[in-house]
Symmetry: none
Subunit: 330 residues, 2 copies
């Protein structure tokens, strides 16, 4: 699926913005819960000029676009929202259907729903850097074999050179941003963490529950930095994270998949909590490490993740892959 | 993940079945984008009473419902449509957005689109039989924690009681069946194995390559039976399996995910080879164990898989789940 990566060009003339006023006039949402104050609605995308599709998935109903908002590069992610059981009755009452096909007991229709019952989750990164654009561009992946020595000789120097900003992580930890999204906060500087919904989750249903626990300790870059001294931190995140999910979302631990990524997408320790049965991106065996396994491994060998050979996929355009090639390790 | 895969298969099978002889009945749609003649619109669902969700997928934005239309049983499948590149310009012009979150360069919105740009594909089976209903019914899964002792006290006795026939496996090993499908055969009774395409793979393209290596040794039920004495066998399967895939399909080892399942679906040692980047059912971290990790684990601890606590999902209707409940382990 990697290579379908298209260089399809959009006509920029076609994506010229229309006037904001015209769109405001179309606002006709009377639903109290969903509609709210008219003034809260805006259309930042009316000034967005898409230049190309970075990648998309017909199965997941998602599309990643690259373009401009005013003079800034922007990445826009559109993703249809899951179908919600709690709005089905309203959906059936308020929609219209057009028959497409009828054959024996089977028939199919196109259903047009009231807009507030059928939203599209839209994420904007602006101004976006070349790295953001690359991140969303469809790319082939290669499985890399990293010994402990490769980590110290190849990966760690690369990660340190990149030194990507973690400001957004610190904003969360210091409650300078997203404070209203926090599900659980343990303020202990050593064992503490902040649990909040991943941006991929719209929080409308628990079926695709996706939370991130961000450790308060700032010096743990990834799985590779963990040793047995971090066991109390890991056990605290595991235990209190599960309790917080049970309390807030009524999901017991037996319905959760709790894991770390290696390589992670940012080098500040964080743990993924997703619902078992939800086929979350990045939960595959080639990238995910169950927190319960991480804990067991560190219990039996305090230096497990410093000496162990680890395997992970890297995209063709990942600078780290180039370093592994240069080092003759691929 | 297995659940989702099943649904996907059913979904496309359904679509195929429904469209197979549909040409005669195809309703000519001349003016779809604009909404067309109001008279063509109807709302068969306004009379649909949903009684329960049979299954759904938040990732795929699909939901299967069981209910009644008048006095008839009906199954209704709702699936959001993929995002279309050719309607983006109109989507951006005609939609409204509400800001949900802003943090540094990242922001997220809820987008409400004009209904004709954001349809829901709706398939109705009516009257539906009990078979249709069962076909779409999802089974919930639960994550089970199995210590080495649990394995011996709960799992092993259950597996032995079931004693499901492995005749089909022996037929393959003895070339009494599927001989023409064999990709590679190592006849050594201790180290040997047969490599052949999994039934899920249609072999039409390598994008979703899926092969199974079946060990010739008959007494290894699963991961739990492995000890360091099996390292030569595992290394042989790993090495020769990768070579055979390279030779036949031109896919190098860096494009492969090679793993075992625990629990497996049958208790005769076998190894899965799937293409990296193909989201194969059962490749999630909660069920898959990379063969390279299995080898490393046995190298550092000969009894690793006999003593280790293992985690795996079981469906609600799995007899083994009942045994874990009876044993007070869930």
């Amino acid at each position: 699926m990697a290579d379908v990566a298209t260089k399809r060009e959009l006509s920029s003339a076609e994506t010229e913005a229309a006037s904001r006023e015209a769109k405001r006039a179309k606002v006709d949402d009377k639903n109290g819960e969903e509609g709210g104050d008219e003034a809260e609605w805006e259309n930042v995308l009316s000034t967005f000029t898409a230049s190309r599709v970075l990648s998309d998935s017909a199965r997941e109903k998602i599309m990643f676009l690259h373009g401009k908002i005013a003079d800034d590069d922007a990445v826009v992610v559109l993703e249809k929202t899951p179908i919600r059981e709690d709005s089905l009755a309203e959906l059936f009452r308020g929609s219209k259907l057009r028959l497409e096909m009828k054959n024996d007991i089977y028939s199919s229709y196109r259903l047009q729903a009231p807009p507030h019952l059928n939203e599209i989750k839209t994420t904007v990164v602006c101004p976006a850097t070349e790295k953001h654009v690359k991140k969303y561009q469809r790319q082939e992946s290669f499985l890399v074999e990293e010994t402990g020595e490769d980590y110290r000789a190849v990966t760690l120097p690369y990660v340190q050179e990149q030194s990507l900003s973690l400001q957004w992580v610190y904003n969360i930890l210091e409650k300078k941003a997203e404070a209203d999204r926090i599900v659980y906060d343990d303020p202990d500087p050593e064992l503490g963490f902040v649990l909040l919904p991943d941006l991929k989750w719209d929080q409308k249903q628990v079926d695709d529950l996706y939370l991130i626990a961000i450790a308060r300790q700032k010096d743990i870059k990834s799985l590779r930095d963990l040793s047995s001294e971090h066991l109390p931190l890991l056990q605290n995140i595991f235990q209190k994270g599960k309790e917080a999910v049970l309390q807030r979302y009524k999901l017991p631990a037996s319905k959760l998949r709790v894991y770390l990524h290696y390589q992670p997408s940012y080098y500040h320790l964080h743990v993924h909590f997703t619902k078992l049965g939800y086929d979350a991106p990045g939960c595959g065996v080639e990238r995910a490490h169950l927190l319960s396994d991480v804990i067991q491994n560190l219990q039996s060998d305090p230096q497990f993740y410093r000496s162990r050979t680890l395997y992970f996929p890297l995209r063709a355009d990942d600078g780290l892959l180039g370093r592994f090639k240069e080092a003759g390790r691929l």
